[in-house]
Structures are given as structure tokens and as C-alpha cells.
Symmetry: D2
Subunit: 278 residues, 4 copies
Amino acid sequence: MSSTILLIHCPDQPGLIYKITQVIFQHNLNIISNGEFVERNFNHFFMRTEFSGTVNEEDFLQKLKTILPSDAFIKLSVRQKRDVAILVTKEHHCLSDLLTRNAFNELDANIQCVISNHQNLQDLTSKFDVPFYFVPADGLEREQHEEKVSHVLRQYNPEFLVLAKYMRILSPSFIRKFNNRIINIHHSFLPAFVGANPYHQAYDRGVKIIGATAHFVNDSLDEGPIIAQSVIPVAHSHSAKEMAQAGRDVEKIVLARSLKLVLSDSVFVYRNRTIIFD
Amino acid sequence: MSSTILLIHCPDQPGLIYKITQVIFQHNLNIISNGEFVERNFNHFFMRTEFSGTVNEEDFLQKLKTILPSDAFIKLSVRQKRDVAILVTKEHHCLSDLLTRNAFNELDANIQCVISNHQNLQDLTSKFDVPFYFVPADGLEREQHEEKVSHVLRQYNPEFLVLAKYMRILSPSFIRKFNNRIINIHHSFLPAFVGANPYHQAYDRGVKIIGATAHFVNDSLDEGPIIAQSVIPVAHSHSAKEMAQAGRDVEKIVLARSLKLVLSDSVFVYRNRTIIFD
Amino acid sequence: MSSTILLIHCPDQPGLIYKITQVIFQHNLNIISNGEFVERNFNHFFMRTEFSGTVNEEDFLQKLKTILPSDAFIKLSVRQKRDVAILVTKEHHCLSDLLTRNAFNELDANIQCVISNHQNLQDLTSKFDVPFYFVPADGLEREQHEEKVSHVLRQYNPEFLVLAKYMRILSPSFIRKFNNRIINIHHSFLPAFVGANPYHQAYDRGVKIIGATAHFVNDSLDEGPIIAQSVIPVAHSHSAKEMAQAGRDVEKIVLARSLKLVLSDSVFVYRNRTIIFD
Amino acid sequence: MSSTILLIHCPDQPGLIYKITQVIFQHNLNIISNGEFVERNFNHFFMRTEFSGTVNEEDFLQKLKTILPSDAFIKLSVRQKRDVAILVTKEHHCLSDLLTRNAFNELDANIQCVISNHQNLQDLTSKFDVPFYFVPADGLEREQHEEKVSHVLRQYNPEFLVLAKYMRILSPSFIRKFNNRIINIHHSFLPAFVGANPYHQAYDRGVKIIGATAHFVNDSLDEGPIIAQSVIPVAHSHSAKEMAQAGRDVEKIVLARSLKLVLSDSVFVYRNRTIIFD
């Protein structure tokens, strides 16, 4: 039987857990898992509850509103596969990983389509019977290209966009349409490097660790609330190319792990941070 | 102002969080942090709540008992430094780490004394003005030696014993006196090795990772519920001695981290597993 | 231009590096990379040299033999793609990873075929135009089944066998035919668990870390010289199923990394340990 | 018996290993361990050889010079404890770790003195019978303060300076006096943060990993060739203070590991990278 997920965040005040769980109890809903967290810098309260039972949504939300602060965020959603579109450029490793996981039903996703500004990954995508859209960017302004991408997306109306090594910057107006619903995977290093050829920069500096960061996209491509991070050790004997390969291995695992969290409604975003109930 | 920690575990049933937080709310106590977990294999409920406010302990516990199953575990404790005794043999790394952290007030512990079957660590302990008891085991039966150790411990009545590389097996009768209150640090390997000279075994097998496990002690020295684990990579070029040094570095960090969890009442033990609210 | 790899191991004696590099220098070969290691417990010398230039193999090996101890191991091989057969059972994650890496030319392998005692992975394998052989084991003795597997392998004569979650024990006589040429991926835990349902055992014990070990197969399935290991942290909140998923993520990365090492002739096996020149 | 370490780096050319090991062989020196590496971007050759036997230093270096390029770097040193001075500010964790390791003879160092611009760590240092110099910086120009520090250092003439959480910037002229002989430990994050209160920045951004980087100091405090790095996972539930504590645990282990490498002459610096023979 399917379960329902309730997300709430609001300014903290005494008695919130008591009042919320009272509403749940009085609706004869059975809590499967429950998590709360209070961010102490801003005294902000977060709660994720997963419950079973048939919920009268209108009445339930009405009751919650009467006991919560007026500016509370409330989201109620049935646990089910979420519609996802994937944007890629040329590198296959993240897409390969997502497509094979999905083929064996390990992602809570319905991968609706793959969109790319290059054709390199068309064959791979087709093997898994997922529609592939080649939307070249050559000679187009950024907004023109995004409009073509948006045209494809409007056919599918995905809940989430996954940037699986999509190497183009998205415009703020595009991003706003998918507020906290675009997940990007970004290489990361200690110390961090920006700009072109990060792996060559990492090699030149002789880093001993290579990482990856999955995050929501906000105004700029590589910023935004962090969902998951991991690292892998490297050595001076690794070439920039070998460091890049090591980085790809981390990237695909971190991206898949962050998708699992996002697609199960386990991630809050608040003031550019994530609060994660794992 | 000091806070109070409430630990509850009992068979799961609908409405537990609601009923417990109602009692807290009605006693005008202010929840600082709250965590629940339901172990699904046994449908067992765990809750750790930290709150501020003045609690009428007798009345509060009475109210909780009326709403909880009769076999519920309930523990109420003020957050404060806990009395700890440390048992060691010859290796200094864990004791050095604990004594220096404690000297700078980073452990929530009152280290009452150090007991050892060797004298190697007497000088170190004395530097930090902690009483050191040399309790030699030579020529004694295990129970005889433990009785001498117990004699020292009775002077201090510690809440927790820390085995900071104490290389002797404790008898079941000794362990029972400190049920889930003895923390041990144990080397660990992938694959695991038992018996003498584990680092030589690890070297011979050519492991690429060395780890450490902090755990409560139950019937045998190296079993018992796991509190924290960590690892460090090694290579074929490391000698058994270098592997041991790498292992010591992991051991001391893992032991300190697990103590922080235990001394803040963040760890439940249930059916040989720990449930940790971090 | 292709390069050549020279592997030597023998009892250590003074002057070995000097004498070997003299032979290389006198044959006008240009060292690209060079590594030596002396195992101190047995005073055994290991050297891996990769060089460019045209080598008169017969003369070169003859010269080496005159300067090396008579029981020296010497192997000369051109760096090129190695023929590999993959054995699987039902789980797809390692096979998916190898097939997609190979499709994008990231493995130094020629994957000749996939053999399985189940049909689950036939579709996946076919997507990548690799022959799939379903060799059921039902009702067969172990040796009978292995003979059928061997019959397929004889068509291809692979240099290496990869057990990508092949859940059957291989007989000693089968293993001997591929001495140090079978690579297996094995879950690993701290502490280690043997027998059925390792992830349920790991859950029951409440481990905080899950790992994976890639190793050569010798007499028994899960022993043999370790090539690579890695770990991932887990928590009490993860179910046995989630621990298994975390474990699969580690397994596929560790297996791919170990294959890269083996297929580039970077791994020596000596007395049940690996010496790795990375 | 003590051993000798030979470090060479120079432009690569055919036959270098052969020619160098010939000189070693002809001087009847017995190689204990040997490592070479060629940096391919600049075709630069690195070699570290540790050997036993009595070496006529003058004649040996003379022979090496005749066979090596004229701009070769050659360093010959006996393996022995190196003289080290430690600079600290207020935080104890790295100093505690180094002093306790040293007290049990685990560092290849002779810690000559500890210098600080604060008095917090005087008691700790005195426990271990190491001279402590309080050199306040209040009201002094940077160069004036450094001159006072240099005055102390001139009494001891240390080979290496260890900045064990020394929170002051060193001037280029001071650094030049200890070219590649100052080791610093620096917090690091994914993504990296600069400026004041890095742990508050890390908290605000919600990082999931905290790291540490040990490096040689060159022109600026937090740049310079990286010697070792490591990380530790954190979560949204950790306060900035708890992140800082986790960071300190990593810092002290990484600093100790990097010192072990540096004090055993295992680290080359070349074009702002390290080449490490571990």
C-alpha cells in the first residue's frame, strides 16, 4: 500500500510536534517514520513524516493550517515514482548509471526523456528505450537554445530536471521555472578550482583528493544547496586524465544517491542549505 | 542553563509521539532537539528528546508511565559531565588523545582515574593530574585481578568504563556490573582477522584498508553493539608496523567520537545494535 | 605507439635494478615508467617497467635471464586490450557498469562474452551486442555445470575471468585453469560476516560501514589476494535492503578499479598478497 | 644501522636509472628501497633511493654529477631525527597530538621548542619538557614580530617549522628563509571557503564533508604544494562548532601523516606540486 509524505517547515515555537502529531493521530493515520530538526541560528522548525492510511487531504491540510504559523510551508505528496527529464552533453558516466539503475527499477523515477546539445549519447539512450532529443546550441543565443529545450520539456512536464554532466550554464529565468527542482552534479576539489579544465588545475596543484557535489541549481550553475558529497583519493602518479576518471566514478554515485533523497521527498531547502532526513 | 535528556524505547504503537510530546508540552518543557526511530523488524520505537525547563521529575515520569506500554524503557538525565574510568595496557595513543581533549574541556567527561596492568602510561597520566593505578596481573587468576580492579573502581563509582586499548579479556561477571556502560576500541579489518598479531595477519593478506570499531562490551571483548567505525587506506608498501600506526590513528579518533555520543546520551542499545541520534 | 610491459620478481640481491636497467638501456628501449618494491619479510624483489621502442624479444629475455636468479619470474607483454569473459548470476550493477564503461572505451578490455546461470541479465547484455550464454545449473553437479561453462570459454580463450556477482562456488580444478586470472568482487564488512544473507547479518549487528573487496580467486571463492577495497558509511536508519544498495555502489566501483589495475599488468601476486604499481 | 637517503630530480633522459644505480652498485651500497617517477608534462625525472652501507660522500656525489644533467638537484642525507620548531596560536589539538606522539618516540623529530603569540598552550608544552616561547604580537608590525620569532629560532636552527594552527600570516621574506621547510595545516572544504570563520561559512552552505590539507608554505599562508589531505563526513544536524571539532580531528591526523613523509625525506616539491614516495 502506498504511503504519504508530509513536509512542514516554519518558525519554531513550543508544542509544534505535539500539535502536528495530534492532527495525524486524530485522522487515524499511522506514522511510518518521523523526523524533526530545529535550525538554531534562525530557530526554524523542519518535520518530515511518512504515514500510511487514507487521508482526507482537504480536511487534513485545513486542520494543520489552524495549528501552524501562518507562514508555514506545508507539502503533502503520495510516495510514487517522480517524472524526471535528464539533460546531458557528451559524458556518459552519469547517464549510463541512471539508465541502468532505472532499467532494473532501482530509481524512484520515471525517466521521461534525455535532452542533449550533442549526439554522443543518443545510441546509449536508445538502448534503454528512452526518447532522446538532440537540441543543438550552435549559432543560438542562450535564451533561444533554452526555449527549444523548454519546448521539449513542455511535452513531458517533468517534476525534476537532472543535469547529468550538462556543460551549459542555464539562465536565471530558466532556473526559476524549476525552483529547487534542478539537480546538478559538479566536480569538487580540495582546494576548489573554478573555470576551464578543473582536472588540469587539480593536477597542477597536486591535490590528493578528488570529490563530487550534487546540489540544487539556483542562480548560477555550480552554486546552490548541497545535497550530497563524496571524495576519492588520488596521487601524484595519476595523470589529469586518470584524475578525471576517478572523479567520474565519484560523480555518478553521488548523483544517484542525491536523486534517491530528492525523489523520496527527504530534502528540505532553507536559506541555501539542505536539511536531509535520511 | 542545563538541559534534560529523555530516552524512551518500547514496542511501537499508533500515537506514541503525540502522547509523549503532549506530556512534555503540558509540563511547560521546551524541546531543544527531538529524534524518533522505529526499528521495522521488531516494530520497536525509540525516542530521544532534549528539553529545557524545570521538570518535576516524579510527576513527569508518572504521567509518561500512564501513556506508555508497561514494558517501556524510560530514562531521564540531566546533561552534565559523566564520571569515567579508563583502563589501559601499554599503548598510549587513545589515552593521550582522551587526556589532552579532557585537559581542554572537549570531552563531556570527568576522568576519575586510569587503571593499568602495566606502568608504561603512568608518567603520561600524571602529567594531566589524573590518578593512575598500577594493578599488575602477573601470577593472578583473571577473577583475582578483576577484583583488584573493582576495588579501585569502587572508590570512584564511575558511570562508564573506557577500554582505551586494554588488552585483557574481561569476565562475564565483571561485564554484567557495567551493562552497556563499557566502551571498547577494537582494530578492524576487511576482511576481519581474529587472534594474535592482527596487523601481521592484515599485512600477510595484503589488505588495502584498515579500520577501527568502537563498541559496547558484552559477553566477549570484541563483540557487542557497534557505536562508531572508520577506516584508513593502506598499501602493499606499508609494513605491518606502519599499518599498526595507521590503525592507531583511526582508533583514537573513533574512540573519542563514540565517547562523545555515549556521554551525551545519544546511543540506545537494542538487540545487539545501537540506535544513534547524532 | 604501443608500449611494452616487463614484470620481474625474484629473490632480492644487490645490483638488480642496475643490471636490469642496463639491459633495457643497451637494447635502446626508453623507460616510460618504472617501479620497484622489495618485500622485506622474504627479501623478495618486484619490478614493473613500461617502455617504448622495438624490442627483440628473444634476445632481450635471454639477456635478462643471464643476469637474474634462475628462479626469477619474467613476463613481457605488449600493452593492449585484454580478452575478458564475465560470469554473472542475477544482480546487474557490476555488469551494467562494465558494459557501459566498455561501450565508451574506458576499459582496456575486449569483453568476449557474458555467461550466467540465470537469464535476468540477457536483455542488458544484448543491448551492448555482447554474446550472452545462459548455462543453467539446475539439476547438475558442480563439475558438470563447470564443464558446460568451460565449453563456452574454450570458444573464446579469455585471458581473464571476471566474476561480476557470480554467486556460485568454483571448484579448485576450475580455478587452477585460471591461476591468478579470475577477479571476484566480494562484499565486506567491519566486522566481516560469512554465510548467507550478509546484509541481514550486517544490519543485525548494526555496522556503520559497508565495504567491497576485489580479489583474485584461489582455492575458495572469497579468499585470495586482495586487489582493491573501499567502503561507504551507513547508519542504523538504513534497512538491510538499503545497506545492500550502498554495498552495490561500492562493489561496482571497486571492481572496475581493480580491473583497470589487472588489465594494465600493474598487479603482482606473491604469497597471497598483491604488490600493485599504480 | 643508519641508512642514507639520496634524492635526485632533473630533466628526464634515457638511461638515468641505469646510470644512477650503477654508481650506487659500484660504491658497494645496498639499496633498501627505490622509487622513480617521471612527470610527463615537463618530462622531469624524480628518484628517491634509501641505501645502507658506508658512503664516501665526496666521491659519491662527484660520480653522480658526472652522469647527471648539470642542472640536476641532488641531496644526500642520513636518516635521523630532524630538528623541528613548532609555531602555534591558541588551539591545542595539533600540538597535543605532536607532543604525545613525540613523547612516545613516534615522530622522527627532535622538537626543539614551541613558539606562540598566546600563552594558552604553555602549560601543555611544559608538561612535555619542551621549551615554550611566548612572543606576543600586540602592538607590533608583522616584521617586528617575525624578527622576535626569528631571534628564538636562531638559537635552535631548526630544519623544519611546523605551523600547528598558527593563525598569523608569515611575510614572504620570512618564508624565503625556510623554503619548502615550513609545513602548515589548513582546514579545507568542498567547496572551499576563504576568509574569516570558515566553519560558519561551511555551516551556512551546508557542506556534507569537511577536510584538512597539509602543505608547504610558499608566498601565502594557505597555498603551496599539498602534502596530504583527508576528509570527514558531516551533516546538517552538526552545528558550526561541531563541524569545527570534526575538522580538528582530521587536521591533527593529516598534519602528523605529512610530517612523517617530510621528515623521512619522502617528498619532492616541483612546480608547486609534491611528488611523494610513500
